[in-house]
Assembly symmetry: C2
Homo-oligomer: 292 residues x 2
Amino acid sequence: MTATVIDGRAIAARMTAEVAQEAAALAQAGWEPRLVSISVGDVAAAELYVRNQRRQAEAAGVAFEARNYPETISLEQLTGVLAGLNADPRVNGIIIQRPLPAHIPVKALQKAVHPLKDVEGMHPASIGNIVYNDLALGPCTAVAAVEILKTLPLKVEGLDVCVIGHSEIVGKPIAFLMMGLGATVTVCHHMTRQVAVHSRAADAVFVAVGKPGLVTGNMLKPGAALIDIGINRVEGRTVGDADYDSCAEVAGWITPVPGGVGPVTVAVLLKNAVLATRMQRDHYSAAFAAAV
Amino acid sequence: MTATVIDGRAIAARMTAEVAQEAAALAQAGWEPRLVSISVGDVAAAELYVRNQRRQAEAAGVAFEARNYPETISLEQLTGVLAGLNADPRVNGIIIQRPLPAHIPVKALQKAVHPLKDVEGMHPASIGNIVYNDLALGPCTAVAAVEILKTLPLKVEGLDVCVIGHSEIVGKPIAFLMMGLGATVTVCHHMTRQVAVHSRAADAVFVAVGKPGLVTGNMLKPGAALIDIGINRVEGRTVGDADYDSCAEVAGWITPVPGGVGPVTVAVLLKNAVLATRMQRDHYSAAFAAAV
């Protein structure tokens, strides 16, 4: 194996330590960062995420309130709940856990979260702001993947990058984040004729598709960086989208699954929580100053 | 010359004819589409655009009011003006002409236009909506370029596309629009090591950089489509970003400048005006129905 294995947990720990410092400073100023998580129905997978986020949030000094609503709640009622959270100055960030019941379209909820409290970076305005290179609250997984790449000794400006997967919350945001940093980005997906032609020409490959074994060693340029965002369950184990062994023979750097992008995603969520709190504090200060 | 020259004016005329029908129907229902154009200071270039837009708007049954404010207006005053236009139900679309004076940051104004009246498709939420494949009011030039490509007998799904230029209002939106249609997109820009490597592999090339002669025939795959969005003045003539003669020898289709993307851009603005009017009418109907 030639690839350096990227330690996602170590990167996450560094980020979370910074978060803890900023959260403590904000708390001293009377602005303890506070997240509210919304989940609907009785879903074990969502609850696992919630427990994980709560644990890491509280360890970093970010308060975390988990709310669960019955499966029967309507979209109107949920949007009412969100309106209340938007207006509550003690709430700094709102998280919407998935999966949601079939009658609750996730996009409608994403639009209902106030952009200033959109710690998951899902509101169309947050996405649009990133396209405009005004990165404030970005989509956590995408930001995490890019942050990991930025820790490598690669010059991002002019880098040839291939993003496999064009999802709205991961693949596309990664693409425009990397574009904003000066990379030449190609986005591949299930309709691409020959993904390997594009991935083999790239210095860095991001994959977020949800297909175990999709990326194999012969699809990579020797020495390339491979950032694997996929999370799949295969025979009781959690694996990414890369065929790890063959990729690790060719790549220069590779993220393991688990222990790669996952931990950094939560750290980014907490970074967003602290940033959102600061933005709201500035917003309120300006509003009060103007009223005086 | 092998390339078929794409007739932008003809495409624009077809689109405008549809707009005229829809505008007439809306006017009959009491909702004549109405655009308000805002320009600041005394700039001849902006006035040319305004005259052109007004002429084409009125020919399509879209009312057009041009407002000009003195150079000395402040950002706060202008945002106040926009707030008034946002609230006025007789105004269906707001256009912000460029250039603006140095003390007026264009992004602040773009954010101040209500997304429902954002006929230029510049509000971050409009851009974010495109990334989410919810195309309603898209950025006019980008939408025009893609609409032109869609008139060609090319299967967009799986098409290898190269976008040269990564601007926030043209290059990037074209990339996301084409991704949404299933193309494999590579975005090149001034930091790209070798644009020709990417452009020569593409079935369709979009160029929007503002450099005359940037794209030459040897940078194209024979038979490719070239959509030239550049507008440059060279020795008294208006030219695009392509070295037209050498490109026309190699390309399968090419847009001339002028007479290519430009006319279609205005037609898209008018399409957006009619769509915005319809969305506002539905919004008001729903609001009144709820209040009863």
